[in-house]
């Protein structure tokens, strides 16, 4: 499997290898948590977490990737997808110009990076959102890339991790951004039925349409401490209900308390925890045994039959059996948080 994996790369030309990023310039940094001025190297050495108050600094997608994959090495895929301006949108500035500026500023095509690599020796697909690119907002390009990451995980039968960091759907692409939620959720329905683990990591911030689609659909939804996670914006809620919201409203700890997260994990432990969870959930024997299946074969078989490796192109989608209805309905006996009302 280890060897075959490299042969399954869909578009090898796109593959880009990345190594550890260098230390950014500037010697000191002010912590948003305790407001103290801290020696930057010390923060970086501490996984970009404040050594004094445990504040988790927002980090770039590339920093995430290097911190999670084995030896900080990964193979970037789907690098050629970029946002266009389908609506010819203009607010105080033309969307087209905004896109160009963000591309130049961040050095990425759009607000997400797809990468393949190993973690603890396990192959997996990862999508990491880049908050620096228009607040990590989701338009058609982000939707397409995340969908491709899911489809790659499905094709290659490897686990999927998505690191969310987004203000939500991108208004400048209107309803097309909204539709990305459905598109991604539909792809996740397939992954779900195929019994391939998907871990959603929610980081500060994860809000709006991203939360209401893939961020909340992980087999496990895990978060960094004190991350802002929610659907509606706190200001909108305050205006609607005309009352002040509690201090920790829509923070990781609040969501954990209300049953929306599986656990909160500190950044420096993220990699180890992800590896452990994937080992515990990813059932390679099951997926291998499920391989070519008869249509009547039930849940896993019918889906897994698609993943015949790179040669599966011949097996057109139409020849495949219907996806089984997600089986988790029965498992969801109670809504977490109901007792707290």
């Amino acid at each position: 499997m280890e060897i075959a994996w490299f042969k399954k790369i869909r578009k090898p030309k796109q593959a880009v290898e990345h190594k550890r990023v260098q230390v950014p310039e500037g010697l000191w940094v002010k912590c948003n948590g305790c407001k103290e001025i801290i020696y930057k190297k010390e923060v970086i050495r501490n996984s970009n977490v404040c050594p004094k108050c445990n504040y988790h600094f927002r980090i770039s997608a590339r920093e995430r990737l290097t911190s999670l994959f084995d030896d900080g090495r990964y193979q970037e895929v789907d690098t050629d997808i970029y946002s266009i301006d389908p609506l010819k949108f203009r607010d105080t500035k033309a969307y087209k110009d905004r896109l160009r500026e963000y591309r130049e500023k961040t050095g990425v095509n759009d607000a997400v990076i797809n990468a393949r690599g190993t973690m603890g020796g396990l192959q997996l697909m990862m999508s990491v959102m880049e908050y620096g690119f228009m607040g990590g907002s989701m338009g058609s390009a982000v939707g397409e890339k995340v969908t491709r990451a899911i489809e790659r995980a499905l094709d290659e039968k490897i686990p999927l991790v998505i690191i969310c960091c987004s203000g939500g759907a991108r208004m400048q692409e209107g309803v097309l951004s909204l539709m990305q939620m459905a598109k991604i959720a539909a792809a996740l329905a397939k992954l779900h039925a195929a019994r391939i683990p998907y871990i959603s990591v929610l980081t500060d911030p994860t809000t709006g349409g991203v939360t209401a689609s893939y961020a909340m659909l992980g087999d496990l939804n895990i978060a960094e401490p004190k991350a802002l996670i929610g659907f509606a914006g706190a200001r909108v809620i305050e205006q609607t209900i005309r009352e002040k919201l509690p201090e920790n409203f829509q923070r990781s700890e609040f969501l954990l308390e209300h049953g929306m997260l599986d656990f909160i994990v500190e950044r420096r432990e993220m990699r180890d925890i992800l590896i452990r969870c994937i080992r515990l959930l990813y059932n390679a024997d099951l997926l291998a045994a499920a391989a070519p299946a008869t249509p009547a074969g039930g849940d896993v078989e019918s889906i897994a039959s698609r993943s015949g490796g790179a040669s599966s192109a011949t097996a057109g989608p139409r020849s495949r059996e219907p996806l089984p209805f997600p089986g988790t309905f029965v498992a969801r006996q109670q809504t977490p948080g109901t007792e707290l009302q």
Binding site: D80, I81, Y82, P86, L87, F89, D91, T92, G107, V108, N109, G139, S140, A141, G143, E144, T147, A169, R170, M171, G174, V175, L176, S177, L178, M179, M181, A182, K183, A185, A186, A189, K190, H192, A193, G208, G209, A212, S213, Y214, A215, F231, A232, G233, V236, I237, T240, I241, F249, Q250, P317, R318, R320, P322, L323, F325, P326, T335, L340, Q341
Partner: protein, 320 residues
Amino acid sequence: MAVEDDDFERPLRDLEKKIEELTGVPGGEDRSGEIARLARRLETLRQEIFSRLTPWQRTLVARHPKRPYTLDYIGLLFTEFVEIHGDRKYADDPAIVAGFASYKGTPVAIIGHQKGRDTKEKVRRNFGMPRPEGYRKAVRVMEMAEKFQRPLFTFVDTPGAYPGKGAEERGQAEAIAYSLRAMAALTVPIIVTVTGEGGSGGALAIAVGDRLLMLEHAVYSVISPEGCAAILWSDQGKAKEAARAMRITAPDLKDLEVIDDIVPEPAGGAQTDHARQASLLDERLLAHLEDIRSVSASERVECRYQKFRRMGKYGQARFF
């Protein structure tokens, strides 16, 4: 300027008043001729005004308090409706109605947002803004539709999911996300109709279907024009610009290849004639249902997947 733009029906009201005045006054034979002439002018003017509504004016029509709502369509298009309640976990959400009914003799499942007509009912229905329980109730009906292999009709008309404290605590985002995923995996035919306001994720949660229909003056968008204006222009007053910029009308969505079909409305909008609107919709629902029923379940699910898979417009090039 702003008032004129919003009150685009004013010339119609003026004319109606004039006709009324003339009718009320006892007079000679010559009056009936004038009344008929004015009535004809009224109809021409109505068609003229409604044929060139701006996106913002369409938004106002889509929000018209006399527009038919889900329960109106259920009454006019279906028989033997049995409404179900509750998510079996926490509560019942009156902002979403759901259940089963007969459509031309075929048992079907129905889910729709529901707004209220009078003040009391508006409050009870929370202005058509669902809480998580609404989506979880919807998922219950989806689950049963699948179990008993009943086609599903959904009617979309909401300003959006309710932005409340309790809604967040009880997982509004999770409820919507779960519904999206569940709907994508159903094997039964699903026909979605946006009848009024298609407000963001709160609308989309029950709008993943094989066919997406939109009434002529309905709107469907990622955020309300007011919300978009507040964020991008820092000025709610720019809602008209936002409505235009976001491309939220039915013809826009057809152009963007999001919806399949535009259902015509009677001149003056759906609110002027519920029965006529229902019959215009009925025609389209039946045609689409027959169409998607004719393919196999597996093909249907894959087609639905590909339908949403294609949505969005992006480029492919390497910059770095």
